[in-house]
Symmetry: C2
Subunit: 329 residues, 2 copies
């Protein structure tokens, strides 16, 4: 870009902090947190023990507890708060934000009441600002440790996407651009629903074959729904769809899969979700409502809604998914 | 089917034995092994300790060391030998086989010299016989233990596919039919190549993000190649493509991923492949040759060929894959 760029990242959770630290390698970056102890620790020790214990952040990253300070001078706004606080956050910063500043979402959820995607909320609350997102198979700790990873920066405008890429990209964090904002934005929330089902599968000890079949059907379900909502099917086979789905459903236990695993192992929904922001729990309701409105079949999401919100036993839900009648693939 | 059906399964490896045991629940089934001790153990103890230690087979399954006995009365022929012995096996049974008997392949490889799929070899060696395959995300041990799993029976004729399905299917082993024989047949061999790369990724400890990105690109590569060879892209997003890919690249260590992991951890190719039939090692050569002939880009397969057959260090190969130049997804 033509002159020095200032990036503001709102939210110092594990992924917000990691993206801020990545950006700080390339441009001036300020991360906002409402917690003064987190702000102080980032500024003094380059650490965020609350979310990323033991990992050192880029020393050029600065933090602030003042939204005004974070936003009034920024040229790129990155929003790293969960979907249920997303709209409120945008309203709070709207009076400070310069015109034309691109807004990049990191959230992987849908707003429960409106069933909207985060970039739709950006358009409503910050009209005139290009809205996009950063998504993909990215465990924050691994990225921060400098392990190789790839992500997708989805922006509706090719020029802006190209100009923004160097803000986040490095030799070990490869950022690809994609113009399909809708598709990239739906992959994350919908995969969280499937991840809960995969977790139940693990908790019930149904095995790897069953989980692989579930992931396969999960992608089919995500694609069906995503294409009906305007995404491109290729996008769902890419990093923000399949890549994120595979990562979340296998290997290290993600938050959403953890909730499912606890349910499968016999915990109550209250026990399973205690102290965890698992976006998938809320997203399941929004996804089912959208699917019903669009006349799309989402059998896994429907069973997850029954388990999470209607008291259905996890075993009964998985049995129904596994024992669907024989037919062509 | 109209009268009692006799199934013959050639090869008593882990998957051949498992499929034979599944079929024995439904119809008279005879499994052939060249090892007399295996034959005796299956008949006397319903065990195959050589490949499936400690797991009990269906008590109705019988075994024989006589190819003639296995084949001369069979109505369905299942071929469960590795791809390098496939053609020779068909030649041996050809004089015994009744007309019209469908031949179902279990092998997940390509013939190295001819680069052909197993059903192509069936057409050549057993002309006039319907040729198909059973594929999908199926760890043999889990299936035999009665854990839920799903598979695809691919046959070119819908009537035959429907009639064959009850031979293999049960409430816990769900068999779907698919008419895309080419697509279903390419998923297995090509995913073995990607599994070796995923294993190297593990052996080098590159992390879960990198592996998820590799699996995503792996599916893209399989689809590109598979569609060019006549498969349907939807097939590669299904159980025999994505499902098998996810299973092989995550969770329990598959044979092909094991070879990759050993290479990544510093073993030589001789050490890594000692005593293991990892179909992917040979398939890599055939896949690269086919891709070059068709003008298709297969960067992962190309790097695997360099590692497996040209002495390239695994780290250099993975670096090249991870650090490909930035571009649109």
């Amino acid at each position: 870009m033509s002159r020095a760029t200032n990036v503001a990242v709102l939210g110092a959770g594990s992924w917000g902090t990691t993206v801020a630290s990545l950006a700080a390698r390339n441009v001036d970056t300020l991360v906002w947190s409402r917690r003064s102890d987190t702000v102080e620790q980032i500024n003094r020790e380059h650490l965020n023990d609350m979310y990323l214990k033991g990992l050192t952040l880029n020393s050029r990253l600065r933090a602030t507890a003042s939204l005004e300070e974070a936003v009034h001078n920024c040229d790129v706004l990155v929003v790293g708060v969960p979907s249920h606080g997303f709209r409120e956050m945008l309203r709070a910063v709207a009076p400070q934000l310069r015109p034309w500043v691109p807004v990049v979402s990191l959230a992987k959820g849908l707003e429960q009441s409106s069933r909207q995607r985060m970039t739709q909320i950006i358009h409503q609350e910050l009209p005139g600002h290009p809205a996009g997102l950063l998504a993909g198979p990215n465990i924050a700790r691994e990225v921060l440790q400098g392990m190789a990873a790839a992500a997708v920066l989805a922006m509706p405008d090719r020029e802006i996407a190209r100009a923004l890429r160097p803000v986040f990209s490095s030799s070990l964090f490869r950022v690809y651009t994609n113009l399909d904002v809708i598709g990239c934005e739906l992959g994350g929330p919908l995969k969280n629903v499937i991840a809960i089902a995969a977790g139940i599968c693990d908790g019930l000890e149904l095995g790897r074959n069953a989980r692989a079949a579930l992931v396969t059907r999960g992608l089919a379900e995500i694609m069906r729904m995503g294409v009906a909502m305007g995404g491109r099917s290729e996008t769902f086979a890419g990093l923000a769809g399949l890549g994120d789905l595979v990562l979340t459903c296998t290997g290290v236990l993600s938050r959403n899969r953890h909730v499912g695993q606890a349910l499968g192992a016999g915990r109550t929904i209250e026990e399973a979700t205690a102290g965890v922001v698992a976006e998938g729990v809320r997203t399941t309701l929004a996804a089912c409502a959208l699917a019903e409105a669009a006349g799309i079949e989402m059998p896994i999401a429907r069973q997850m809604r029954a388990v999470l919100h209607e008291g259905k036993p996890p075993r009964a839900a998985l049995d129904e998914l596994m024992l669907r009648s024989l037919r062509r693939e």
